[in-house]
């Protein structure tokens, strides 16, 4: 009985080693294929997300530009409070790291930008909303 544990591995070793080799061989092939397909799949998701995030931020940015243009030709276009909010939105938008999707702050910043935008449109009574946002883009952010 004492010899059994020593004997067994000796007996199994060659076939186990071979199995391991075949496993490793398959793993290597799979890993390389996975690298390629994973990168392409990730790219497709990134293309979609990038366009959506870009579109939403561009939308807010140019609304801001239009309001700033209005203030520029007419100081009293908007109330002091609204102008303050416009400035804050401008600061938020300019600090958004557009080219760095891995930045951990992006979700938080997007939330603040949306909120600030809603505050402004509500106070100037503008019927303005970025209509691309509902469901899809929000869901995707959570998926990733």
């Amino acid at each position: 009985m004492d010899q059994q544990p020593e004997l067994n591995p000796d007996f199994l070793e060659p076939s186990v080693l071979l199995d391991e080799t075949h496993y490793q061989e398959g793993y290597k092939n799979g890993y390389n294929d996975g690298l390629a397909s994973g990168k392409e799949e990730g790219r497709q998701v990134g293309l979609k997300m990038g366009f959506q995030v870009g579109e939403e931020l561009g939308f807010y940015q140019s609304c801001l530009d239009v309001w700033a243009s209005a203030v520029h030709i007419d100081q009293n276009a908007f109330s002091h409070r609204v102008r303050k909010n416009i400035e804050q939105l401008a600061a938020l938008l300019s600090s958004y790291p557009l080219s760095d999707p891995e930045d951990e702050r992006v979700q938080d910043m997007m939330g603040k930008i949306r909120l600030k935008f809603r505050v402004i449109t509500a106070s100037i009574g503008a019927k303005l909303d970025y209509e691309g946002r509902p469901a899809s883009s929000k869901q995707d952010v959570e998926d990733i």
Binding site: G38, V45, G46, L47, K48, M49, G50, Q52, C63, A77
Partner: protein, 204 residues
């Protein structure tokens, strides 16, 4: 998935069964060998009945078992490997795609934002920013065209333009993937006539 797996199982057990049988017949041959000393006829008998372990049939069964086992482990490794590989490269791919599209989307968002924001201004402000009636009309038309495209449409057009840069595919989808570009060009041209509206330089 269940069916091929079952079939594999059956093949495996059949192979094991055969190996078991052949192992026992090999034993019999060994035992019969000492009797061989007696006569040539016995040896001939052995050639005919006892040599199953050397026959091509036996070899191919072993080969099959061997290949099956090899494939099984190869397949297991492949499955684990592909998952791991995908995990390791997905983020990199995502970043590549994101950086490729974010500025295109941004530019299109600028178009949507300018036309929407101008349209939503109270008339008093709109007239100050766009003194020319002609400009206001053109902008309203442009705004309508932009509004006809949902965010989903825009995304699809962008996708088309990336997959078929030559634009030959739009016949099939019924949408012109270059529409985003042409609308944003229209806006840039129009804004040249409205110097008071100052927008982000990325639009031009």
């Amino acid at each position: 998935m269940a069916l091929p797996g079952d079939a594999e199982g059956v093949t495996a057990s059949v192979a094991e069964l055969r190996i078991g049988l052949e192992a026992s017949s090999a034993q019999e041959t060994e035992i019969a060998l000492p009797g061989n000393v007696g006569g040539v006829a016995a040896a001939e008998d052995d050639d005919i009945w006892g040599d199953a372990s050397d026959s091509p049939d036996h070899a191919s069964t072993l080969d099959r078992e061997w290949i099956h086992r090899k494939n099984q482990f190869h397949k297991m490794g492949y499955r684990d490997g592909i998952t791991e590989g995908q995990k390791d490269s997905a983020q990199e791919g995502f970043n590549v795609g994101f950086r490729q599209s974010v500025h295109v989307g941004y530019k299109w968002g600028l178009v949507r934002g300018v036309t929407s924001a101008l349209a939503s201004l109270p008339d008093r402000l709109k007239e100050k920013l766009l003194p020319s009636v002609h400009c206001r009309e053109k902008l309203q038309n442009l705004h309508n065209s932009v509004q006809e495209l949902s965010a989903g449409d825009a995304l699809n057009m962008f996708h088309e333009s990336i997959n078929h840069p030559s634009g030959e595919a739009h016949v099939a989808s019924g949408e012109d993937p270059n529409r985003l570009t042409s609308l944003s060009k229209d806006l840039v041209v129009l804004l040249h006539e409205c110097p008071d509206v100052k927008v982000n330089e990325e639009l031009g």
